[in-house]
Amino acid sequence: MSAVADRYEELQELGVEVISVSVDSHFVHKMWNDHELTKMVDGGIPFHMASDQAGNIGRAYGVWDENEGIELRGRFIIDPDGVIQAMEVLTPPVGRRIAETIRQVQAYQLVRESGGTEATPAGWEPGDLTLKPGPDLVGKVWEVWNPSMEQ
């Protein structure tokens, strides 16, 4: 979670709020923040660290591991209408890549601002070409985009 905290300012500039969730109590969250995370990120964790000791939130999001009694690494991007636009679930030993999450947020924000008239091709980064789906583009994507454009 310190990797997300480290990019929090950037997320705030994009209008993104962060909530982290685990089965630990909010008291343990405080201990983890005070004793370890503050050593990784200046000022510690700036966002809500939610506690889900009964696993009810985890069940609702499909990330509850009932054998271990823990929550898997589920990451959800929720839009201003409260709709889930993206989700990723990893088993515990592999960490997320926050840069990819930020890229997806930027892509979804562009799509939303375009009113759904634009789409972002594979590997899209801010400033790259977008696609404008419509009758003229059918069978013609090759003219404007190819895999070598994905960095």
């Binding site: 979670m1 997300v4 997320l11 209008g15 993104v16 709020e17 962060v18 909530i19 982290s20 969730v21 685990s22 089965v23 630990d24 109590s25 909010h26 008291f27 343990v28 969250h29 405080k30 201990m31 983890w32 923040n33 370890e36 964790i45 809500h48 660290m49 939610a50 506690s51 889900d52 009810n56 939130i57 985890g58 069940r59 609702a60 999001y61 499909g62 990330v63 271990e68 823990i70 898997l72 690494r73 589920g74 990451r75 959800f76 991007i77 929720i78 839009d79 201003p80 209408d81 409260g82 709709v83 889930i84 636009q85 993206a86 989700m87 515990p92 030993p93 960490g95 947020v105 979804y108």
Partner: protein
């Protein structure tokens, strides 16, 4: 109902540690904003 892309995110209220305070957090309080919701296996784990 399990969370699915393109569908409403299940709302919840939970106890939370927030900037030195114990302040409950409610997902729907953030309506109108983008939210990044991150689950993880546990505090004091290694990844």
């Amino acid at each position: 109902m399990t969370a699915t892309v393109g569908q409403k995110a299940p709302d919840f209220t939970a106890p939370s540690y927030y900037q030195g305070t114990f302040t409950p957090v409610k997902l729907s309080d953030f309506a109108g904003k983008w939210v990044l919701l991150c689950f993880y296996p546990g505090d004091f784990t290694f990844v």
